[in-house]
């Protein structure tokens, strides 16, 4: 899982995400790698962010865009549990496509901060002819 922010000069910053939860109200809480210093310093109420979620086995991907509801927060117990759940799903899948465990460990963030966004748009990001197609809201 990855994402991006941009500063006032339209300079983007890519970052890794290590776990996310979606509430019934359409608020996505993502755990962003702490090396994303520009994003950490910039995120506040109304900041635009994008996040892309992909399956490492079949490459099916989804990108969402939305605005943050406030400043970054330190991860709480529920966030740490979310990270553990993510690892339990992601790591075995990565092994199946031949990714060495040491590589997964190498890209795993050593620390994270939490960012919550209200979802505004979603796009199919799966490689192929439908990539970039906007997804409509369900009933």
């Amino acid at each position: 899982m990855v994402g991006a922010s941009a500063d006032d000069h339209l300079v983007p910053e890519a970052f890794r995400i290590w776990g996310a939860t979606l509430s019934d109200g359409g608020v996505l809480r993502a755990l962003v790698s702490s090396d994303a210093g520009q994003t950490f310093g910039r995120v506040g109420e109304g900041t635009l962010l994008c996040m892309t979620f992909g399956d490492p086995l079949n490459l099916r991907s989804l990108q969402v865009k939305g605005r943050s509801i406030g400043a970054p927060e330190p991860p709480g117990p529920a966030d740490l549990a979310c990270m553990e759940r993510y690892e339990k799903v992601f790591c075995p899948k990565s092994l199946l496509n031949g990714t060495p465990p040491a590589l997964v460990e190498g890209v795993r963030p050593r620390s994270v901060f939490a960012v919550s966004i209200v979802l505004e748009e979603a796009y199919d990001q799966t490689p192929g002819p439908t990539a970039g197609k906007r997804l409509e809201e369900g009933p």
């Binding site: 339209l10 890794r16 994008c50 892309t52 040491a102 490689p127």
Partner: protein, 141 residues
């Protein structure tokens, strides 16, 4: 290599072998960020890299208005991850950089059974503005 550069792309060969898919982020003229995976990054010279462009309609549109990009790339040999700040310069649809990427992309596509989907459109060439190591095994002090 110029004396004021603080990075040495040639020492990062494992970033350019296509083993670990990099991530690219761009931003539209109205400030909307976009992030997607790409197949491969290749070294052009001491200051430039080229990225495989296969199916990036939004990334391409963003770069037409705003040349800045941010890339996360992981070295397949050392497992270190770097964040590159880039500025888009040109789009090659033939020539040595394009051909080098095309051969590599074709091999990746064949391995994944996605020959049609992974057809290379262009080799997009960027100037590297900065390169920061952001993750990886602990470094010796």
């Amino acid at each position: 290599m110029s004396s004021d550069r603080e990075f040495d792309l040639r020492s990062m060969q494992g970033c350019f072998d296509g083993a670990v898919p990099p991530v690219i982020a761009t931003c539209s003229a109205d400030g909307v960020p976009h992030a997607t995976y790409l197949s491969q990054l290749t070294l052009v010279d001491d200051d430039h890299v080229a990225l495989s462009n296969q199916f990036w309609s939004k990334t391409t549109a963003n770069l037409a208005d705003n040349p800045r990009a941010s890339v996360l790339v992981t070295d397949s040999q050392t497992y270190e991850t770097y964040r590159l700040a880039l500025s888009f310069e040109r789009r090659d649809t033939d020539g040595p950089v394009f051909e080098r990427l095309r051969v590599s992309i074709d091999a990746i596509a064949k391995m994944m059974g996605m020959e049609e989907t992974f057809s290379l459109r262009s080799a997009d060439v960027y100037r590297v503005l900065s390169c920061d190591r952001i993750a990886g095994p602990p470094q010796p002090r």
